[in-house]
């Protein structure tokens, strides 16, 4: 079994969201970077669990990023995974990134490719689906459970108002969200071991993005909270009914 786990670096969830150069770029000065939580907590941990069940499993991590992502990749390797591949390119749109990942996926003939539900910065939820199409593979979007029995996979995926259980044959692409696995903290042995795991750097292929960011903007500020005394909650109901007209 060969598993490819796609990871991405994102600003820390507490990072201040601000823009520069006339609101065309994210102001990344002083921002801490983390592994995108969906990639780290769910896809990567699930891949590691599958390897724990079947130690012959090989896990490769892949990311599209410049060298400043190396600490993030090492952190992911400290959790698990046998080696990592960094495609040496700055990020463009989802299509550009998916096309780069597809190239690596084709060369490695993986049985299973995991992505996270979305990145917490661009919230595209697009890489998994694009990658599956580029590779001509079945795709399970937003899995909340994933299991293997030989080369047959069962996945539970979220649907509006419930869940469904699907069965499919590998190879396949799966995007993971909460439920698939539980967050793990790397241990000392993992951190030490990660230093010597291979991190291959490859150059990107030529791809034209299909979309581009023109500008960013921040949402309008709230006017301020209207406080209702705790001994008169009926007043809140009146305001929601008469003023906000929502109930």
């Amino acid at each position: 079994m060969k598993i490819l786990v796609c990871i991405s670096k994102t600003p820390d969830t507490t990072a201040k969201v601000a823009f520069k150069d006339n609101n065309t770029k994210f102001a990344s000065e002083g921002v801490q970077w983390i592994i995108n939580p969906y990639d780290e907590w769910y896809s990567l941990v699930r891949a590691i669990e599958l390897k724990e069940k079947d130690p012959s499993t090989i896990i490769h991590l892949v990311t599209v990023a410049l060298a400043d992502a190396d600490p993030i990749i090492r952190k992911a390797l400290a959790l698990g995974g046998d080696e990592a591949i960094r495609i040496n390119a700055d990020s463009h749109d989802s299509y550009y990134i998916a096309a780069q990942l597809a190239e690596i996926a084709k060369q490695g003939s993986y049985d299973l490719i995991f992505t996270g539900k979305e990145t917490i910065d661009y919230n595209g939820s697009a890489i998994g689906g694009m990658l599956a199409e580029m590779l001509g593979l079945p795709y399970i979007s937003l899995a909340t459970k994933f299991d293997l029995s030989g080369t047959t996979a069962t996945a539970i995926r979220e649907i509006e108002g419930g869940e469904e259980t699907d069965e499919l044959s590998l190879p396949a692409v799966v995007s993971c969200q909460k439920g698939v696995a539980e967050q793990r903290i790397p241990n000392m042995k993992g951190i030490m071991g990660a230093r010597t795991k291979p991190l291959k750097v490859v150059e990107p292929i030529a791809i034209d993005p299909l979309t581009s960011v023109v500008s960013f903007e921040l949402p309008p500020q709230k006017a301020g909270v209207k406080l209702v005394p705790a001994d008169n909650p009926e007043e809140l109901v009146r305001l929601l009914h008469e003023e906000a007209k929502l109930i």
């Binding site: 969830t13 507490t14 969201v17 939580p37 299509y95 998916a98 917490i120 910065d121 661009y122 919230n123 595209g124 939820s125 697009a126 998994g128 689906g129 694009m130 599956a132 199409e133 580029m134 079945p138 795709y139 399970i140 979007s141 995926r157 979220e158 649907i159 509006e160 108002g161 419930g162 869940e163 469904e164 699907d166 069965e167 499919l168 909460k178 299909l210 979309t211 960011v213 023109v214 500008s215 960013f216 903007e217 921040l218 949402p219 709230k222 006017a223 909270v225 209207k226 406080l227 209702v228 005394p229 705790a230 909650p233 009926e234 809140l236 305001l239 929601l240 906000a244 929502l246 109930i247």
Partner: protein, 320 residues
């Protein structure tokens, strides 16, 4: 040239989020001087002709019951084929769970630029620029699509449903349906509950509620208001509530008209997923809770005293 709108359904019913996209698509067609068509894969119990009231001229249907289960490859091939036959230049989805599964596949197949999570109509004055929410609701990005065919998925609850009069012509599309590579084994549905992503009102509880045994009042208030229930991350992590209720930066991002947060501190990661709500009400015993800064209405008080009184007041209101 046309605007093709994907119509999503389950249990024979068209989803509310698709009615939003139909309204959005009809408006966009008018804005770009083209016609809006709907596309439905599978079967529904509703009369498709009535969808004309949302401003679309025709509804194309691939009337095949096997399509009532979505397989991304099968759906993508059919939508791509329909889009080509109808020379669709703009293809629209809801950015719901189905849209998230298919729109990216279709984008790769047609090499058509995708903006997922749009929150407003595109600016077509000079180019084609779509506003979408990014950083889990902490900001917006304006994205330009440069390809001939464009795909947009619209965030649920970000465009109002507009209906007038009119009937749509129903046209059956005789497309070949390939065998699906994913097989549906079972479906588990929580019946009768309001779907969180589509809900207009959401009542949400945090760790301040102390334990799962105290959710009765949250559920009662939600039921009275026709609302969905949600929770903060630790509440789902501790299995007080199911995972699919977890909202925030690493859960579901929602934008209801009214979000009522009870015993939730308002951490930045929680706010990220809910701050697009139109009106936010916060009930928290700590006057310093950060959530008050993001709220429209608030009560500083003990949820266990305040919420039952709110329930009584809502009952009185509903009775009057």
């Amino acid at each position: 040239m046309s605007v093709l709108i994907f119509i999503d359904h389950s249990d024979g019913q068209i989803k509310k989020s698709s009615l939003e996209v139909l309204s959005y698509g009809a408006k966009l067609a008018a804005q770009t001087g083209s016609e809006a068509f709907g596309l439905l894969l599978g079967t529904v119990t509703e009369d498709l002709a009535t969808l004309g009231k949302y401003g679309i001229k025709k509804v194309y249907q691939v009337n095949n019951e096997t399509l009532n289960h979505m397989d991304t490859q099968q759906y993508t091939n059919l939508i791509a084929e329909a889009a080509t036959q109808l020379t669709a230049k703009i293809i629209l989805f809801s950015n719901n769970l189905t849209g998230k599964a298919i729109a990216p596949r279709l984008s790769a197949k047609l090499k058509a630029g995708l903006v997922s999570g749009a929150s407003a109509l595109p600016d077509t004055g000079n180019g084609f620029i779509v506003k979408k929410s990014v950083f889990s609701g902490k900001a917006f990005a304006n994205i330009s699509i440069s390809t001939d065919i464009k795909i947009i998925s619209l965030n649920p609850n970000s465009y109002h449903i507009e209906s007038g009069s009119g009937t749509a012509e129903i046209v059956q599309l005789g497309l070949t349906v390939d065998a699906a590579k994913t097989k549906l084994l079972s479906t588990q549905k929580a019946s009768g509950e309001v779907v969180l992503s589509e809900a207009e009102i959401v009542v949400s509880g945090g760790r301040g509620l102390k334990g799962p045994q105290n959710w009765g009042m949250i559920e009662e208030l939600a039921k009275l208001l026709g609302a969905a229930t949600a929770c903060s991350r630790p509440v789902a992590d501790e299995h007080w509530r199911p995972h699919n209720e977890h909202v925030g930066q690493t859960g579901l991002a929602i934008a209801p008209n009214l979000y009522i947060a009870i015993g939730i501190s308002g951490a930045i990661q929680h706010l990220a997923g809910v701050n697009r709500s139109k009106v936010i009400v916060v009930i928290n015993k700590d006057p310093e809770a950060p959530f008050f800064k993001a709220a429209d209405y608030g009560i500083v008080g003990d949820a266990f005293e305040v919420v039952p009184k709110i329930i009584e007041a809502v009952k009185k209101l509903k009775a009057s």
